[in-house]
């Protein structure tokens, strides 16, 4: 199975290279989506096969090179979980694009960039090497900068400029972090870096500097609150399916996933890192939602909610790290991590659905100003129903998925002794409900306005994509059932909870150098071949 891991990147890459040429040669407009959809479907099948496979850590050293020379791909529980989320959202966003993108020119460039962005995200999630994470973040990033400006209107270009500037600064920070880590530990493979750090007795001062650079870099990519300035411009400016991809999966794969990987699996998720994550997450949660309430642009409002909802995820993960350091029972720690990861999947589903619905509304009416809309519930029954489901889901109304993940996060916070944070979380949830009551009131309720008079239901493919996500809003509630949870999410939870690999087995290494406790000891690990190790 691990031999097939590179295909998860290679298939979308081939799509990215071929679609623009084929578009040039054939000149079809509608057909441009066929090849990408087939390829993403193949990626989805592969990801599902991985998720369904046995829960073990697959490691593939690319090109037959072994440690310490080559690059590895690594698929553990967390990776598989994210791969499936990315593939599902991508497939539905592509389906939606088939009709939606008729508003834009050059569909082949669009699909090419889309596939490259997908390849970048899959590459980040699979990478076992810090520098490799950087390279694939750049692929996903550059594709998304171009896609944000795809409409080439003035404010789209401007948003893209801002996004590109901050995104590149973020990548630079990540690269400096990598340089410091390589200087200090001599390793690039993050599992080996983690071993080296653990062998050296935990992070030292220079490594805290590296961690600070990583936190700033990935924090910028994840739009955590002091670094969030680009997101409310960039996400609404993109075409709707791209907004769904950016908010739904890109900030998760390139931001939160990488953040969690570095903090938990490399630096060992100590109490310091836990509090930093709690601060970032808490601030994002509160600031995001209060900025969202005042918005009248439909997509901008959704974008601010993305900041807020990702705050929940980071807060839960940070709280878990703090609890772990304090010695709270393992079950509560696992519950907090589960809450965070469950909310991550839920947010991918309902936020993509919300953005797709906003796209449908824009497609039908030509505007996304809430004040110009009204009465769409009758004009567009399918989109209206989907929008209602998604809005209830993000506000945390039972029995939809958002309710369960928020409940679990609050429960874990209470059990872990974070009473203030738990109260704040509940309050933020109410404000979210308020904000989406406004959306429903202005978009769906009331009498049809002038802008809405001509509106009709959107084409079938767009409806189908929205409906599929709406069904997933219900279906993913099932994850709270223990049987489903243990299959889908628990492997990912275990990866985050276990922290860096050597906590389980740390064989004392003997160092020949004159420097006692030199960190280079891990280079002495015998080179492993294509290895399958169970955690």
């Amino acid at each position: 199975m691990q031999k097939l891991l590179p295909l998860l990147v290679a298939i979308p890459l081939a799509g990215g290279f071929l679609v623009p040429i084929l578009g040039r040669l054939t000149g079809t407009r509608r057909g441009a989506a066929v090849l990408p959809i087939l390829m993403v479907a193949a990626v989805l099948v592969l990801s599902l096969a991985l998720l369904a496979g046995p829960d073990e850590t697959l490691v593939l050293w690319i090109g037959g090179w072994e440690f310490p020379i080559g690059i590895s791909l690594l698929a553990d529980g967390l990776t598989r979980y994210l791969l499936v989320i990315v593939a599902v959202v991508s497939l539905l966003a592509l389906l939606f694009s088939m009709d939606y993108m008729r508003q834009y020119t050059s569909p082949s460039l669009y699909y090419g960039l889309f596939m490259l962005m997908l390849a970048g995200m899959n590459g980040v999630v699979l990478a076992g090497d810090l520098f490799n994470i950087f390279v694939f973040i750049e692929i996903a990033g550059i594709a998304s900068y171009a896609l944000v400006a795809f409409g080439t209107e003035a404010d789209e270009l401007e948003a893209s400029l801002k996004y590109l500037t901050l995104g590149t600064v973020a990548s630079t920070f990540i690269l400096i972090g990598i340089a410091v880590v390589y200087n200090v530990t001599g390793q690039l493979n993050w599992a080996k870096v983690a071993e080296a750090i653990a062998a050296g007795g935990g992070p030292s001062m220079p490594l805290y500097v590296a961690a600070a650079f990583f936190l700033m870099g990935f924090g910028l990519k994840a739009a955590m609150v002091p670094f969030h300035a680009w997101l409310p411009d960039a996400h609404p400016s993109a075409p709707a399916p791209i907004s769904a991809m950016l908010s739904g999966v890109l900030i998760k794969a390139c931001g939160v996933y990488a953040l969690a990987r570095v903090v938990f699996s490399v630096f060992g998720g100590s109490e310091v890192f836990g509090w930093v994550l709690v601060a970032l997450g808490g601030a994002s949660m509160v600031v995001g939602v209060f900025l969202a309430v005042g918005q009248w642009d439909f997509k901008r409002l959704l974008a601010y909610h993305s900041i807020s909802q990702m705050g929940y995820v980071v807060l839960a993960l940070g709280a878990a790290a703090v609890m772990q350091a304090r010695g709270t029972s393992e079950a509560v720690v696992a519950l907090a991590i589960f809450g965070g990861l469950f909310h991550l999947a839920n947010h991918a589903i309902f936020k993509s659905l919300l953005f797709l619905c906003s796209g449908s509304v824009e497609y039908a009416t030509g505007t996304r100003q809430l004040k110009l809309l009204g009465g769409l519930g009758r004009k567009m029954p399918v989109t209206g129903a989907c929008l209602r489901i998604a809005a209830l889901s993000i506000s945390g109304v039972p029995p939809l998925n958002g309710f369960w993940s928020k409940l679990i996060i609050v429960l874990a916070l209470v059990l872990g002794g974070f009473y203030t944070l738990a109260v704040i979380t509940v309050i933020v949830s109410f404000v979210t409900l308020l904000s989406f009551a406004k959306v429903q009131r202005y978009v769906l309720g009331g009498e049809p306005t002038a802008a809405v008079e001509q509106a009709r239901e959107v084409p079938a493919a767009m409806c189908l994509a929205s409906l599929a996500l709406a069904v997933l809003c219900f279906a993913s509630s099932l994850i709270i059932l223990p049987a489903v949870k243990s299959r889908l999410v628990d492997p990912a939870v275990r990866v985050v909870q276990a922290g860096p690999p050597p906590r389980a087995k740390a064989p004392p290494r003997v160092v020949a150098a004159e420097r006692p406790g030199a960190v280079a000891a891990q280079a002495a690990v015998p080179p492993a071949r294509l290895e399958r190790t169970s955690p």
Binding site: P20, I71, T105, V184, I197, S204, R509, A520, A523, A524
Partner: protein, 222 residues
């Protein structure tokens, strides 16, 4: 003292001055040209540091970027000079940044308790050797009998990259950097080629004359 270090410090001084001029000058053309000077300085620094591949690449990239930027700047009349944001805001941001860099540098260079510390310039971790732990007899700290391995993957690459080890093969490329770039870390390079491909089709997408069009339904309605 290493003569390379002295040359390097002088070069860094030049680059710092060049970059400050590039940032501060109000004329955009001068700014771009100063940037080119800093870029060529970087290239010389690469050469000094034993990286001819990087020096060549930096030079050719710099030339291309310079040609494009100069064209962009001289063909466009921009009567507004480059302006700055309010002094107070910038000053406070830069103060924070300066303090941050000072603290970071102090953490990197000076402080610490001896473990996992930042290696000084010219003395990378690959100068250290560690023993292959497999052969170490239990309970005995002296393991002089076992094979010494370089302390970082770069050192391991120098040692085994060309000819290989007992379990692994080498690249056979006399240029170790190319061996890493195209074989051992070829996957990264695939990513790199993809990055540049992405940026180019992204530029095509951004430069399209018309981005949006009336979709079929609108046309039918009117």
């Amino acid at each position: 003292m290493d003569p390379v270090l002295i040359l390097l410090l002088a070069l860094f001084g030049f680059m710092l001055i060049g970059s400050i001029v590039a940032v501060e000058t109000r004329d955009l053309l001068s700014s771009v040209i100063c940037l080119g000077a800093v870029g060529f300085g970087t290239s010389v620094a690469f050469l000094l540091l034993g990286a001819p591949d990087l020096a060549i690449t930096q030079v050719v990239v710099e030339v291309l970027v310079l040609v494009v930027l100069v064209r962009v700047v001289i063909t466009r009349k921009d009567e507004t000079q480059a302006t700055s944001r309010s002094t107070l805001g910038v000053g406070s941001v830069m103060l924070v940044l300066g303090v941050l860099v000072a603290v970071m540098f102090w953490m990197l260079a000076g402080a610490g308790d001896g473990r996992l510390k930042m290696r000084a310039f010219g003395d990378p971790l690959m100068n250290e050797t560690v023993a292959a732990a497999t052969a170490a007899p239990a309970g005995e700290p002296q393991i002089a009998t076992t094979q010494a391995e370089p302390g970082s993957i770069g050192g391991a690459y120098l040692k085994h990259g060309l000819v290989g080890t007992a379990v692994s093969r080498g690249t056979g490329a006399a240029n170790y950097v190319m061996g890493i770039v195209l074989d051992a870390r070829g996957y990264d390079t695939l990513g790199e080629a993809t990055v540049i491909f992405t940026a180019i089709i992204g530029a095509y997408a951004v430069l399209r004359r018309i981005g949006r069009q009336a979709h079929a339904r609108d046309v039918a309605d009117r």
